[in-house]
């Protein structure tokens, strides 16, 4: 095999692990150890392209032609710097989430580890594929796995959440499929690069329709405001570890699809494809983003449950990213890539903390968690750092990315947008501080449980990793931003 075929390993190995895990379980061996170890192996593989590109001069994008057919006939996987930047993050979240959410003892109504394997295969596939219909197939795999992970606790609330989540996800997929078919009718191709090449000769109305349908479907999946109501409900009944994986992995993968479509068809970064010039889509995206920022952060203010608060805060964050994306400049897009990667790490870190707290207290109400952090210095520090980063205060990586976003937005002339993004952060200070205050001081500190539960140790590991990334990332913010910029410039077809 050649190096260029590397991306397919990230899809084929997790898929291969599903039957292997089944046979392991039938042989009465420990599936758990096997599954965690192999997911860890996949995560290490996911680090390889980034490390090789930065340290050993590997030239990205790696282009894996499935079956040897080119983009006009078959499917081409494209591991570009954008994918290389996000793959390590999503795969690390998957292995940590699988280890933390493992239901100890009780019989789960749903096969647990195969779903994480399939989630890994689906999200890796969606991140690396350059074929729109293939992306649709991977989206559906992700949808099925992630809502089953929402339901695995098996009570009525979990199934209710899963049903709501699935309905919303499928409406989004249907939009996306309509859009893909419209683009196929207009250009006769399914590969994004070929579609972009053939745009000049295609019927413009059909292209615009297909483009807006895909963007609308992605907005449903990202829970942008008019389509947002599924998300808090979908995450409330879920185990917080699954909610963390959904916020971190699924949303990042969908964001990659959004970026590819916007860059290819939306005309980010230049007058070559002038869809942004002739259609009102930047205005619409700006409007949706602004409403999302306002609604997301202010609804987070009135939530009494930690998971719902985090879910609404995600809506606000993606609204801010949409505001920056709607400017259609490459620099703002690079800032969005940076912020998207950070958001995945930070949000899933907090969800994992929430998972540990909810396992101990049996509730995720903020009042029910009072005093949880009081005698846990490590958790307290990590939680404070992650919350600081989500608000966007120094010395954290969240500050760096939000600052980059605001600077680029102001540079492109969007003062009002910058004020909106900043205002969202101001609201975020209030609700995070309130939650932190309750979790530290209110109520009597209870006796600490023993740390015999391995899940608690994994949670601490995850928190250390997340907080470490947050602090180290602040120091190396310029470097990460440079990687994000080169990712966007490669996406635009330019040199690395």
């Amino acid at each position: 095999m050649t190096t260029s075929q590397f991306p397919v390993l990230l899809i084929a190995i997790p898929l291969m692990l599903v039957p292997v895990a089944f046979f392991v379980s039938q042989a009465k061996l420990s599936v758990r150890g096997f599954a965690i170890a192999s997911l860890g192996l996949v995560a290490m593989l996911a680090y390889a392209p980034l490390v090789a590109a930065l340290g050993f001069g590997l030239v990205l994008p790696l282009e894996a032609r499935m079956g040897g057919w080119g983009p006009e006939l078959g499917i081409v996987l494209m591991l570009d710097p954008l994918a290389a930047l996000l793959l390590p993050i999503t795969n690390t979240i998957i292995v940590l989430g699988a280890a933390i959410g493992f239901p100890a003892g009780e019989r789960t109504p749903i096969p647990y580890f195969p779903l994480w394997f399939l989630l890994a295969a689906g999200s890796n596939g969606l991140i690396v594929t350059s074929d729109l219909f293939n992306a649709y197939v991977f989206l559906e795999i992700i949808a099925i796995c992630s809502h089953a992970l929402v339901a695995y606790r098996g009570d009525g609330y979990a199934f209710e959440s899963a049903f709501k989540y699935l309905i919303a996800g499928l409406i989004g997929s249907a939009f996306i499929l309509w859009g893909i078919i419209a683009l196929f009718a207009a250009t006769g191709a399914l590969s994004l690069s070929v579609i972009v090449d053939r745009l000049p000769g295609a019927p413009p109305a059909l292209v615009a329709a297909g483009f807006s349908l895909i963007v609308a479907g992605i907005c449903v999946k990202l829970a942008i405001v008019p389509f947002h109501s599924w998300k808090p409900d979908g995450l409330t009944g879920a185990p917080p570890s699954s909610a963390g994986a959904i916020s971190g992995v699924v949303l990042s993968a969908v964001l990659v699809l959004m970026l590819r479509v916007l860059v290819g068809l939306g005309g980010i970064g230049g007058p070559a494809q002038t869809l942004s010039a002739v259609s009102p889509f930047p205005v619409i995206l700006t409007f949706l983003g602004a409403v999302s920022v306002v609604v997301g952060h202010s609804m987070a203010l009135v939530q009494g449950r930690l998971t719902r608060m985090l879910a609404y805060s995600s809506i606000g964050h993606f609204g801010a990213m949409l505001l920056a994306l709607a400017l259609v400049t490459p620099a703002a897009t690079a800032a969005v890539v940076f912020h998207g990667a950070n958001h995945a790490v930070l949000k899933s870190g907090l969800f994992f903390l929430c998972a540990a707290a909810a396992t101990e207290r049996g509730t995720d109400r903020i009042t029910g968690l009072s005093g949880y952090l009081a005698r846990r210095p490590l958790e307290l520090a990590a939680c404070a750092i992650l919350m600081l980063a989500l608000v966007g205060l120094p010395p954290t990586v969240g500050f760096a990315s939000k600052w980059a976003m605001i600077v680029e937005v102001v540079r492109a002339g969007g003062i009002v947008r910058a004020l909106l993004i900043g205002g969202g952060s101001v609201i975020a200070v209030v609700y995070y501080l309130r939650a932190l205050h309750t979790m530290i001081w209110d109520g009597a500190p209870r006796q600490l449980p023993d740390l015999g539960d391995p899940r608690a140790r994994v949670t601490r590991l995850a928190l250390v990793v997340g907080a470490g990334y947050t602090l180290v990332g602040f120091v190396g913010a310029g470097f990460i931003f440079a990687v994000a910029s080169s990712a966007v410039s490669v996406l635009l077809g330019g040199p690395q």
């Binding site: 599903v18 079956g67 040897g68 078959g74 399939l118 207009a186 059909l206 329709a209």
Partner: protein
Amino acid sequence: MRRTLALLISGSIVALGVTTLMLTGTLSDAIRPVDYTLRTVRDTGAINAVTAILFDYRALDTLGEATVIFAASSVLAFLAPRSSASMLSVRLSMLILYGIAFLLPFIMVFGFGTIVFGHVSPGGGFTGGVMLSSSVVIFAVVYSVGGQQSYVLPILVKKYVENAAMFVFVSLGFIGLFSGGAYLANALTGIPLGEPGSLLSGGLIPLLNIATGFKVGMGLALIIISLFAE
């Protein structure tokens, strides 16, 4: 209130769609998609273009959709309660019991035939797999009356077959990776494509067909029987 809103939204969807249609006109000026039909035989050795696209040109999509079936079936198999078995409370007449017993082998043979001849005639792993699953389901419906759980295959056997089929599919892809330079490669691996139109043609396509057929057959049977048990 909600009805008005719904009328507004769906009305505007229809209006926008029809406007796009009128602006586009007939699709005659749109770019035609690439025609696989004429190059299929040369490239893959299979004469059924749809099968060739599904199992060679766009085989990754097929792997993905087989995975979707796999995920759905495993989730549903776990959801279904173990206890409830009887689907019908009435006793079926002798005529039906013996008639089905007579028909079932034919259904299964037809299903197998559709899978195996998928690259030279209409059919393929998916259609044949659906036929296989229908035979399993018919058996379960007809012969599990009266509370005895005599499904044609225990759930565990179905899961074994399904997992083995998935393993085979992914492994067949790796053959292409190691000997042909591309995952799921067919002609590139050097496997002889055979004479187009004969049973032993199409390289890896028949093998992928068989793997998919078993996977789809067992997966759909699991899904439907689990839904019965609900």
